[in-house]
């Protein structure tokens, strides 16, 4: 075995084609929010070229879903955007409900809206925490986690899980809310606006924060549309597009809220948008609690998609006698309609769409996920070009990407 040749660094001397400094950031890097790799070509610290590479967290959900029944595929959506799993679950359920033409009881709709907004708060808190940490403000990170902990505890009280919920069901939700949950949530809502003000005092009036965010990573409205940005990244550029408002689902048409818009399209505008969204989320949750109607939490015409209590020990090959609900799922093909459908929801990161092609089977023939993170990472190349290395980090944070969702 020959020892490896000793190599020395090539030092960039001047700006020119040959003297570029290429740097591979990630996939193991503290600030790329997971396993994103960014191939950079640098001139000093200025980015000449930026190529985001994804796929390190690819688990093949779209293919996996083809071999699972609709109810079984629900758990895959937990692992998409694991920071706001509830919103993904709801998006998936809405799509399947539309495909199967199932109606959801009003109470379940309200509960879903409520948990979606809690998810949004969770996601935005984590975004703010990591975004601030990327720019160097360490304290905000821990303050945000303090509040996020309360929300996760509430989720635990609601459905037993803190990260991967699978709480919404096709045709409703799994369990009803308890009065303890509502009381605790109300307590949280009472303190939370003051906590938002606390974060703002730490960073919003800080000169360094403003210098790092104002006028950095600017995306104009047209550019944002062309890049396919959605969510706060699009609204920060002044484009009024929010599926909750413009294609309301669940109980969003029953509650009042505003869609905060930015105008400059820079990191600061996106930051302000998300901060305002947190206030709006609190407003929506409050209305959901106040208006929560009585009634069932899962629709009567929801198919029997619950798991059976007992799976037979052995199934005879070629046997036509099916006993349990799980097996019945395979048989009852007439429940399902053929055709294709695309349903999008506004998750914290942007527009999450589920596209199903159904051939009448109990499994999707094809499931495609339009994940906002994937498209936002694609936009990174355009946004970061010509800016400094430090701005790239701020931009990744500001676009609010989650690699679980991007790589699927």
């Amino acid at each position: 075995m020959t020892p490896p040749l000793k190599q020395t660094l090539e030092i960039p001397v001047a700006d020119g084609e040959a003297e570029r400094y290429s740097l591979r950031m990630g996939p193991q890097h503290p600030a790329t929010h997971g396993v994103l790799r960014v191939d950079l070509e640098l001139d000093g610290e200025t980015i000449i070229e930026c190529k985001p590479q994804v796929g390190y967290l690819h688990r093949g959900f779209e293919k996996l879903a083809e071999n699972r029944t609709y109810s079984q595929a629900l758990i895959l959506t937990d692992r998409l955007d694991y920071i706001a799993a509830m919103a993904n679950n709801v998006g998936y359920c809405l799509a399947v409900e539309k495909l199967l033409a199932i109606s959801v009881p009003l109470r379940a709709q309200y509960i879903r809206t409520l948990v979606c907004e809690m998810s949004r708060l969770c996601s935005h808190l984590l975004w703010l925490a990591t975004h601030a940490l990327d720019i160097g403000a360490m304290t905000v990170f821990l303050y945000c986690f303090r509040e996020r902990e309360i929300l996760l505890d509430l989720f635990e009280e609601l459905c037993g899980a803190r990260l991967t919920f699978s709480y919404p069901r096709i045709g409703g939700v799994r369990q009803d809310v308890t009065s303890y949950f509502i009381d605790e949530l109300q307590r949280f809502l009472d303190i939370f606006p003051s906590r938002i003000a606390e974060y703002e005092t730490l960073i919003d009036t800080n000169r360094i924060w403003l210098k790092r965010t104002v006028g950095v990573g600017v995306v104009s409205g047209d550019q944002a549309l062309a890049l396919g940005l959605t969510g706060a990244c699009l609204r920060g550029s002044g484009v009024d597009y929010d599926l909750r408002k413009h294609q309301p689902y669940d109980a969003y048409d029953q509650v009042e809220f505003e869609v905060p818009l930015g105008s400059d399209g820079d990191i600061y505008a996106r930051y302000r948008c998300r901060m305002e969204e947190m206030h709006q989320s609190v407003h929506i949750i409050q209305q959901c609690i106040d208006q929560l109607p009585p009634g069932p939490i899962i629709g009567l015409d929801a198919p029997d998609l619950v798991m059976p209590n007992k799976v037979p020990a052995r199934i005879e090959a070629g046997s036509s006698t099916y006993g349990t609900g799980l097996i019945r799922l395979i048989r009852d093909r007439d429940l399902y309609l053929s055709g294709d459908i695309y349903v999008a929801t506004e998750v914290p990161k942007g527009e999450l769409g589920f596209y199903f092609i159904s051939d009448g089977n109990n499994r999707p023939y094809r499931m495609h996920i339009r994940s906002p993170s994937f498209i936002h990472i694609g936009a990174l190349a355009t946004i970061a070009k010509g800016e400094m290395l430090a701005d790239l980090i701020a931009n990744i944070g500001s676009l609010d990407v989650v690699l679980g969702e991007s790589d699927r």
């Binding site: 490896p4 020395t8 400094y21 600030a31 360490m138 360094i208 790092r212 290395l389 430090a390 701005d391």
Partner: protein, 322 residues
Amino acid sequence: MTILLMLVQIIVLFVLVMLHVAYATYFERKIIGHMQVRLGPMQVGWHGLLQPIADGIKSFFKEDIIPEQADRPTFMAAPIICLVAMMTSLAVLPFAKGWVLADINIGLLFIFAMSSLASYGVVLAGWASNSKFSFLGGLRSMAQVISYEIAMGLSLVGVMLMSGSLNLTQIVEAQGNSILGMYLLPQCIGFFVFFISMLAETNRVPFDLPEAETELVSGYCTEYSGMRYAIFFMAEYIGMMVMAAIGTVCFLGGWNGPFAVPFFPPLWFLLKIYLFMFIFIWIRATLPRYRYDQLMDLGWKLLIPLALVNIVVTACLKAMIG
């Protein structure tokens, strides 16, 4: 005999400073912890009091990894350059009247020279690691230290003009006549410039660009592990204390206090250094990080002109009054 006495003094100073470094890390973690609604170290000893010792033992027994393609001699020398340069500056610091190892006439210049030397360690570490992140960290550090060294040197010229000396003991003694027994008020511009340059010089938040963990992983010490990493760490903390000591000597009146302390004259000096250290930590818990070009802008466009104005104003005032 005098050499032996000197040796004992050096060892005592070394041990005390190392103890201070260890407990500075402890207090940093505790203070930041409490500022960030958590507790900081709690496990080792009462309220984690033995944590720094545990950390020291841990890093001492860790595997010393030298990357395959690193420039071995330089890689090994870099942390030692840092530490030696920082430790040497301690020799000229007057802890109280007469409590100084080497009372030389160019004390202030000596400290500057040493802190510039320490930046060689950082640059060489970045270079020798043969890693891209380390290299960028080293470059940033070089640019930063050169720019801020100028601002800091200029900010202290006012003090030199007022005291008429470069000897640190004489600078302290010259402050006895001014307001509050310190140069803080007459040299407020100088202090402002000095304070900001001090943060940049020691690579602390908001100027911790050479080791910005979210951009450059860990900057120049990315490839270092075990004791070598710990040596960088020690050098950084000694650097903070030396800078705090210069600040104390030049602007806060050194060992002079509201009243004289009978048995332990350096008390006021130490308290002032602790105050500086607390502010260092407080700032770390509060502020985000500057960007590289903004840092340069601040240094060259604001701090250096301000320091120059300070020199001119001080010189004119001194000529008129004196």
